[in-house]
Symmetry: C2
Subunit: 193 residues, 2 copies
DNA sequence: CAATATACTTACTAACTAATCAGTAAAAAA
DNA sequence: TTTTTTACTGATTAGTTAGTAAGTATATTG
């Protein structure tokens, strides 16, 4: 993949996370990268093509994380996940799920499909890690791991949204509350993610 | 308040919840209401004025809910809250927090302040209800009610986002998971919100 | 070396955007 | 009854948007 193409996708990703898909324009990419708006259309004829490309890269990132952390414990996998969100929080960036799902109904069908695929892929990863951590006796929760994954992702996603508005400390406060309920042994208070 | 003004705010509210603040135009309001775009500017000189008006109405709605449910139990108050979200879910509408916080950094300062005020007001209400329900022995959780309110709102907000993408049943699945952790007596499984 | 493909630029457009300003009819106030 | 205010319409605009078509320099291939 050409440098320009990669830079376009990278900046689009950043803009989606910082300002939203419907709030950035081809110009917001063209100016910083010092290319013409037509250069972006050369790689991505329609804006939705650019959106889909950003999602595909995220999808591959998730796959990489999964493959790269196969041999880690469930707890370590979850630490990795939380680390990603903590980094985003420091950069005042929300996650793609938090940015794209509110605009879902403004997207065309192919991009909606990609958004859905991305959500399912992330949730599947989290569910797997949770199940593993539960098997290890590190975490405790009732019901299916897939349902608990929804709750975990929901907390991480919202903490990014709210910490931009209410202050960055919100992130750790929410994480603490989430963990409180999943501590394998409620007498032990030192589990950290 | 004139009918036209009220209709404009009402439709703007719906459009924000369905498509997002940056994805609707004055035309999307003018055409269905059969008024000219200048009529909207008459009441709301700038789009941010319209946004702020929508938030102010929501703020008053929350105040009304609070005053109107003062004498209810904490559990009943929470049932009321969940009912509001459940109705939104049926209409494929997300909540204002879920719609406006992702776009937060694209707003001008006065509107950001209003968004923040709205978030704090809603969280305060939930915290109060949670504390009350805990005092009644109906719910159980550790730490401050304000922190738990973040988790509750986070779940409700995200469930609206995700249920549009993954199917409406997501809403109840997430609610069940949330409640599992807050059951006062873990042997009793019949608490419902 | 010639032909072709790649990676753009220049120049443009049609459609839409929020916003403005000068009217105007009707209601309310003086 | 005159004046003022309210609640708009009509007409327009400056700026932005995604998107296109035609051209060009450079690298790749036959």
């Amino acid at each position: 993949m050409s440098d320009t193409k990669e830079n376009i996708i990278g900046l689009a990703d950043e803009l989606i996370r910082k300002r939203g898909f419907n709030a950035f324009s081809y110009n917001d990419i063209a100016v910083p990268l010092a290319v013409r708006n037509a250069a972006i259309h050369y790689y991505f004829p329609a804006k939705s093509d650019l959106g889909e490309a950003v999602i595909e890269v995220e999808l591959r990132r998730v796959e990489e994380y999964r493959r790269g952390s196969e041999r880690l414990t469930g707890e370590e996998q979850l630490k990795l996940l939380v680390g990603v969100f903590r980094r985003n929080n420091k950069l005042r960036m929300i996650c793609l799920m938090g940015s794209l799902t509110p605009d879902y109904d403004t997207f065309e069908v192919p991009m909606r499909r990609k958004v859905k695929e991305m959500c399912l892929s992330i949730l599947d990863w989290v569910a797997e890690s949770l199940e593993k951590a539960r098997g290890e006796g590190k975490l405790q929760f009732e019901g299916e791991a897939g349902d608990r994954a929804l709750l975990v992702i929901s907390t991480l996603l919202s903490s990014l949204l709210l910490s931009r508005v209410l202050g960055t400390n919100i992130f750790e406060r929410m994480l603490d509350q989430l963990l409180q309920d999943m501590r394998a042994d409620w007498r032990v208070k030192d589990i950290k993610l």
